[in-house]
Each structure stands twice: as C-alpha cells, then as structure tokens.
Amino acid sequence: MIVAIGCAAAFSLGVYAVLTRRDVIAILAGAELMLGAANVQLVAFALSRGGDGAVVSSFALIVLVIAAAEAAVGMALVVTAYRRTRRTLVDEFGEVSG
Amino acid sequence: MIEPQDTPTDQAAPALPDLDCAPDVVMPEVIYEGDNTIVNIGPSHPSTHGVCRVIVELDGEIVRHAEPVIGHLHRGIEKMAENRTYLQVVPLTDRLDYVGSMYANWAYCRAVERLAGIRVPERAEYIRVIVCELQRIASHMMAIGPAGADTGATSAFMYTFWQRELVVDLFESLCGARLTYNYVRPGGVSFDLPDGWIEKCREFVAQHPAAMLEIDRFLFGNVIFRARTKGIGVLDADDAVSWGASGPVARGSGVDWDLRRDDPYSVYPRFDFSIPVGDNGDVYDRTRVRLWEAIESCRIIGQALDGLAEFEPGTIKADGMPRLLAPRPGDAYDHIESARGSLGVYLVSDGSVRPYRMKVRSPAFCNLALLPLVSEGYTLSDLVVILGSLDPVFGEVDR
C-alpha cells in the first residue's frame, strides 16, 4: 500500500515535470522519475504477488539498463541541439530550422 | 575584447582619471559569448611567472585568443633613473630582470661607458663575462625548472633549483647579495674575486654539465613531458624575426642569432663556444635550447677562468673615474645577450650628473608579445606551458 501510493505519487510528479518543464534536460529528468517509480512498483508488485526474486531482479535490471541508454541518447540529442541552435527550451525548437 | 561593448568610439578624449581613487580596473566578468568562455588567469596565479594577467577566450578547452595584460609590476624604473646619478641607477637595474640582475647591470654599464668613454680593465671584463655566464645558467634554471612545474613535474623544478642555488651561493660569496647584486658598475666591477672563489667556480662548472644531462634525461626524455611540449606553441622563424623575438625564444625556432657572436662585445671573441639552435620552434625546442646554452656557458666560464690568470688581481676598476660621472651631452645605446635575448639600454645625457633619459629594450617584453600568436589553437593546459617557455620576467616586462 505505502509503496503503491508512493510510487504513484513519484510517477505523477514525473508526469507533471514532463508537462510543465520547458527545458529538455528537466523533461528528461521527469522521465527518469517515471522510470524509477515504475521500476520500484514493478519489483514491489511482483514480490507481493509471490514472484521469484531473481526473475524480478533480472527484469528490473534490464529496465534499468534500457532507461540508462535512453538517458544517454537523450542527453546527446540535447547537447547537439544546443550546439546547433543555442537553445534548450522545447518551445523554441519549433521556431528554428536546421 | 574585455572592454564594454557600448563604449562610443567617436567621443572626445576622456578626462584624466581622478588620482585620489584607485584606477578604473575592469575586473573580468565571466562573459559567455556563445560557446566561448572568458577566463582570467592571474595576476596572482601559480604559473604566470610573476604578476602577469592573461585573459583567455576559451572554446571548450581550446584557446581562441590569449591576451597578456601587463603593468602589474610597473615601478617606473626608467623615470626614476632620471632623478639619480649614473652610479645610483645601477641598483635600479638590478630590479629590472630580477632573475638575471647581472645582465641589466652590465647592459646599463656598457651604455654609460660608451656615453662617457670609459675603458674597462680587461680583468674586469673577464669577471663580467664569468658572472654573466653564471647568471645565464642561474636564469635558465629558472626557465627549465618551471617548464617542468608547468606541466606538473615539480621534481624537475627542485633539481634545477639546486643548480641555481649553487650559482647564487657563488654570487653571495662574491658580493654579499643573492638576488640583486649591484655588482657590475660603470668602469668595472665592485669587488675583486675573493680567495678561493675561482676554485669554487671551477667546481661548479665541473659538475654542472653532468647535472644538466641528468635533467635532459629525466625531464626531456620523459614520455609525458615530450607529449606535452613537442609540437606545442610552434613559432616559425619568420614570425620570430618579424616580431623581434630574441634569445632562446628565437633560437628555438631556428633563428641563429646571438649577440655574443654576431655583434661581439667585451672579450667574447676570445672564447670558443657554439650557439645551440632548435628546429621546430615548439616549447620543447625553446626549453631544450636553454639547457644546451647552460652547458655552453660552462665552457665559456672555464676559458674565462683560465684567461683571468694572466691579469694582476686588483685591477678591476677603470683609472681616473670621477666621483660623479657627468658625460658630455649625447646619447648611447648598447646591448648584450642576456638570458632572455638582446637586452639594450639607451641613455641620453644633457651633460648633467643624471641621465636625461633611460630606455630599456627588454627582450622579455618583446617575447611576451608573441603569446597571442603562439598560443592560439592550443588548449588551456598548453597555454601555461607556452607562457613558461617564453620565459618572461615581469620586472623587465613592466619596468
């Protein structure tokens, strides 16, 4: 119960961050919040339903690695976009071309 | 670049600054223009070899422009000289290049002697050559060691400093001072060599080349030091000539020019020595040229000590020197090869006991002007190494 509500709170805070932040890096940080919360919820849910700890852990580990790869690509995009356009605010990306 | 952008250029000359308050120093702000970062290095910084301020425009870590800002050590020595008698100026010249005081002494004295037509006894000339070559060694130790320290090899600094210490000990027993010697005077030198000094000097000269070869092996042979200095801060020979570089900075770029040989003065023509010249004009060559010059200096000192034996001890001052020199009106310029390059002193006399005007042509100043040229395109880490390889001494740059 505690974990479920806590993770839901963290997840929805992540949603809020993604919706309100104008900065790409902060949006990515919001996505990290959602991923982290979902991962904890995943492990907790599986364990409370009597799942095998090792299977759960390996699953969560794979999620973790994929999320890290996503973050790396995201950061590379941000930095490259910044170097091209000198902007990091999402609203402004539409106004520039190339 | 650091001036405010909105300064109108077509304005009348600004009013003279109010002398009661501090001068309007523009402290560098951290300004970001696109990707370029402005970094202020100095005036108090571990590796500016004194009080130089370098304003660096960085793109990432690449130096786009480096602007040396000088004047933090300006004491108005040239102006002060106008209010002192010719002999009283000698201590001032000590403070020009405080790493090589003997040179400024000598350059100034040569100008005075030329102005007043004084003939210096040969023994004094030999002593001058000996102390100045020792000074060249001491000064080059202050260039090679810090080149190691700039790249992070602090131990090399200690090894070269030990050699400098031996020279300074010799000077101390000669004239009592360890930094500002006031030893070379118009018409000769202030003291004759004390007993046993020649033997001590021979001892030093005997061990010095071996010590230099050791430094050559463990500093210049070090793989990281080579990687840090080879191909860094390249100055080609044409630029070196057209920017008026001299001394090891020019010779490191392959400019075979040394006043001791090409405009011979004093008793230098009597000695057999060679002038080491570099090929690539990078930091490595500039610094290594100094190392070989120190070894060549040992050869000169050895020959001069041999030659000294021919002369009667005690004849170290020109005969008939008046208490107060008052040369006839006119001007004189003379230059010598200091550790940093061609050091010239220009004197104008109006017939009084004080120089009407003194101007010092300082090699360190001319060499420092090359910094923007040679540091562009290298990294911030290279910048301090390049600055060190130009070996500026700010007492002489700012005067």
Binding site: - | P46, G152, R228
Partner: protein, 315 residues
C-alpha cells in the same frame, strides 16, 4: 541495533580515513622530499612525525571562507558528498579471513559504484563556487572519472570472473597465487585507472595547480578544504587496500595477524608507488588523458577480461 552498528562502523571508517589521511600527508611529504633531494618535515618530533598533529588544529581553526557569489548551502555541504562515498567504499574491503566491515554479497560492485557518487560532489562544489576555473576543473573531473570507471570496473571484473563471486570475502577465499601473473595486466589497468579516479598526478587535471590553481576546490579553505584532501587520501588508501586484497592476495599470504600485516604492507607499497608516480611524472593533457583511457586501458582491460574468462571456464 543494526542501525547503531552501522553508525559505529561509519564512524570507525571516517576515523580510519581521517587518520590515514593525516599520516598519508606526512608520508607523502617524506616521499616527495626523498625524490626531490630534500629532507621534508623534520622539526617537530623525530622525522617530523608530530607535524601531522600540528596540521590538524591548523586546518580546523583556519577561517572558513564562503565566497559571496557562491551557492552557499551547496558550497558548504558538497565536500561531504565527495568524502562520504569514499569512506563508505572502505566498508567492503576484506581485512581478515571471512571478515569485512560490511560483508555484502555484492561488495565488489558496491566498491566500484560508491566512489562514483563522489563525482557528483565534485561537480556540485565546482558549480556552486561560481568560479570559471572551478567549473573547468569540475567538467574535467566528471569526464575523467566517468571514463576511467570503465577500465577500472573491467579490470576488477576479471577477478570477479575468476572467483565466480561478487562477495569480497568469497573472492579472497577463492584467491590463488597464480592469479597474480594471470591478472597482472588487469592489476596495472586497475592501478592506473584508480590513480585517475582519485585525481592524482599524472592525472590531476581537475585540480591542475599550474593551470586551474586548485580546480574544483579553488575557493575552499580551512576545514572544508581539508575534507577534500581527506577524500583524496581516503580514495588513495581505499583503492590501495582493495587492489592489495583482490589482486595481490592481501591477507592470504600468511595466516592470522601476520597475514593482516602482509596485507597492510602491500597496501603501503601501493600507496608509496602512487606517490612515487605523482612526484616523477608531468601531467597529461585532457585529450591525451581521454585517448589513453579509451585506446589503451579499456582494450587492455577487455583482453584481460577475455583471458580471465577463458581460464575461468577451463577451471
């Protein structure tokens, strides 16, 4: 109860590192002096050993300067974020047969993971100082430490593969003397990468004195500065102990207390070697540093890992 024990052990680790750092400063001054034809400290006590007692109050009572422009709370606490993970990493080092302060089943990964939190502290202190030189130093530190983590982890991985366990005490139990020649390349990679991780010469670019004054801790003074130094010496001590244990066998050479003595001597030798390297070599440049990491150390570590893996299969 566990919590109290943890607190106690944490305190012990901090005291261990602080004491080690104080002795390390004295030892480094002596080693450096030997290399530089000097004598080092010699005024206070025999061979200047009491100098270290004098240094501590000096650092404690120095003025704690916080720049006006700094982000003050972060500036104040960032040094702790550098120090704490390093103190934590000491916990998993196996000191005695079957005993480590924290005998975790994932101790080997723990050891590699926690010092990387220190990067965060370094970046925060650099950022909060609001100083260009510190910012450059922080960026250099981040790039360097994140990169050198890769060969370092790969090198340790070869021992993990041989031992077949992530638990340091089990690794020590499985350790055989012939692992030393087998993992020698890995050990060298670990050693070099550790020097880079602790920002010591010739990899001390983040704090390069001749360029950046003191890099990310340029603006620190007094005891906060001392915490950075403690962190640096702590990393040195911790990396040397860990390397001496898992690569060189640590206490396995002799039984009982003699084994512990051998372990400490091995670590001491490694510490001295690090100092020796620092005072002998010039500093690398940033691009040379990165090239060295990715084109020399990482391939070497991968080859070592493959070799260790093949041998582990054959075992």
């Amino acid at each position: 109860m566990t919590f109290l024990w943890g607190l106690l052990w944490g305190l012990a680790a901090v005291m261990f590192i602080a004491g080690g750092a104080v002795i390390g400063v004295w030892w480094e001054r002596k080693v450096a002096a030997r290399i530089q034809m000097r004598l080092g400290p010699q005024q206070l006590g025999p061979a200047g050993v009491l100098q270290m007692i004098a240094d501590v109050p000096k650092l404690l009572f120095k003025e704690d300067i916080v720049p006006d422009n700094a982000d003050k709370p972060i500036f104040r606490y960032a040094p702790m974020a550098v120090f704490a993970p390093i103190a934590m990493s000491v916990a998993v080092i196996p000191f005695w047969a079957g005993w480590a302060p924290l005998d975790s089943t994932v101790g080997m990964v723990f050891y590699l993971a926690f010092p990387s939190i220190g990067v965060l502290g370094i970046l925060l202190s650099a950022w909060s100082s609001h100083n260009t030189l510190a910012t450059i130093g922080g960026m250099r530190a981040a790039a360097q430490m994140v990169s050198y983590e890769v060969p370092r982890s790969l090198a340790v991985l070869s021992v993990i593969v041989l031992a077949g366990s992530l638990q340091p005490t089990e690794v020590m139990d499985a350790w055989q003397w012939w692992w030393i020649p087998l993992t020698f390349v890995g050990f060298v990679v670990y050693f070099i990468a550790s020097i880079a991780e602790m920002n010591r010469g010739p990899f001390d670019l983040p704090e390069a004195e001749s360029e950046l004054v003191a890099g990310y801790f340029s603006d620190y003074s007094g005891f906060r500065w001392a915490i950075f130094m403690m962190g640096e010496y702590g990393a040195l001590i911790s990396a040397s102990l860990f390397g001496a244990a898992v690569f060189l066998g640590g206490y396995r050479w002799l039984p009982g207390v003699a084994g512990l003595a051998v372990f400490l001597v091995l670590a001491m030798v490694l510490i001295t070697a690090v100092m020796w390297i620092k005072w002998t070599f010039p500093r690398l440049r940033q691009d040379q540093l990165m090239t060295f990491c990715w084109t020399v150390l990482t391939p070497l570590a991968i080859v070592q890992l493959v070799v260790a893996g093949v041998v582990a299969l054959w075992l």
